[in-house]
Amino acid sequence: MQERSVKLRLNQQQLELLQRTVAGGAAASVVDLVRRALRESAPSRGEKPNG
């Protein structure tokens, strides 16, 4: 698997929610928050993805 750039399109309301979450200390930036969401959503071994 290779590194990849993904273009995430967010409207102003979606972005506001993530920015408020960042401001609350959940991550250093919106991009970091997205990465955190991805990591923490990853299914553990044996768990069925795409649920």
């Binding site: 698997m1 590194e3 750039s5 993904v6 399109r9 102003q12 990591r39 959503s41 795409n50």
Partner: protein
């Protein structure tokens, strides 16, 4: 005040309803005199009838069968807790079914005139100047309903006994309108109509203190906040030629954020992506993952229900 103060008693006969002013801090008790009698219930803000109990909001917050420990909510954009159920000895109530109506009894049973909850509510509400169009979906008390596996709501017989009661404490001044359900040829009240006892008490300080606090939010708007707060006085709908749309937060504009994923993160994305919904659109798949995660982490109020602080 350690003891409840009785304020009012009424026997609601079959075929009738009663509009009752229940002030903030007062308790309305609705009690079975014989048993097995469904009661339909409407509720309005006594000082602004345009604010009324909303079954849709109530079932979203509390489910299909509201009971003790749950609130009756008003419709958007007010969305305030109007009443709170402090006791419910039978605990079978419903916010799925609409009130029964004359149309039902004519179309299904051939009656020209038959007792029905809509018309009983209309007649009871007429005392306060309301019209048949003001009757709203009812909180159906002592009504047993089920959802079938085919997704249909059904009514079953009930077993409420003489003396079973529900008590609602008013959290604002309300016009509460219970009626004896008019369905005598359905299983709703086991094929008969029976009287119901109504009582109003002044609640004790302990009862008032025991009501959980609900959030007070800016989004709970009143007519002072409305762009148009005038109650329309004519029936015809005519476009306002000076109207200019003012939808909030519009235009909706999307912004692109580039997220550089490591090989491991890219693998996570591919494992999680809902390709059945988003195909090869990685951005849409990632957006779904982010907001689904956000819900799991930060959404403390299911279905948009307000978080209710425990007292």
């Amino acid at each position: 005040m350690a003891e409840r103060e009785p304020l009012f008693t009424w026997t609601m006969l079959p075929g009738t309803g009663k509009a009752l002013e229940v002030r903030k801090g007062q308790v309305l008790r609705i009690e079975q005199l014989e048993g097995a009698q469904c009661v339909d219930f409407n509720c309005f803000n006594l000082h602004d009838y345009k604010e009324f109990m909303h079954c849709g909001r109530t079932r979203t917050v509390h489910g299909f069968n509201p009971t003790k420990g749950m609130f009756l909510w008003s419709a958007p954009p007010r969305e305030r807790a109007m009443m709170y159920v402090i006791e419910d000895t039978y605990a079978r109530n419903d916010v799925l079914f609409p009130r029964c109506s004359a149309y039902l009894y004519e179309s299904a049973y051939g009656f020209h005139t038959h007792t029905n909850c809509h018309d009983i509510q209309s007649e009871a509400q007429r005392e306060y100047g309301l019209t048949p169009d003001d009757v709203h979906d009812s909180f159906n008390i002592f009504m047993c309903t089920e959802i079938t596996t085919e997704g249909r709501a059904t009514i079953t017989r009930q077993s409420a006994k003489k003396g079973d009661y529900i008590e609602l404490i008013a959290l604002m001044d309300v016009l509460a309108v219970p009626n004896v359900c008019g369905a005598d040829i359905m299983r709703t009240s086991n094929f008969s109509l029976k009287p119901i006892k109504l009582e109003i008490f002044r609640a004790t300080e302990n009862e008032i203190a025991a009501v959980p606090q609900t959030p007070v939010l800016r989004s709970q708007r009143t007519p002072e906040d409305f762009t148009n707060s005038a109650i329309k006085a004519t029936r015809e709908l005519v476009a306002d030629k000076s109207y200019v749309a003012r939808f909030p937060n519009t235009p909706i504009i999307e912004q692109e954020i580039v997220v550089d994923l490591s090989a491991e993160e890219a693998l996570c994305l591919d494992r999680l992506a809902r390709r059945d919904l988003y195909g090869d659109d990685d951005g849409a798949a990632l957006r779904d993952i982010v907001f689904s995660w956000w819900e799991s982490q930060f959404l403390n109020a299911a279905s948009g229900a307000p978080q209710i602080a425990k007292t």
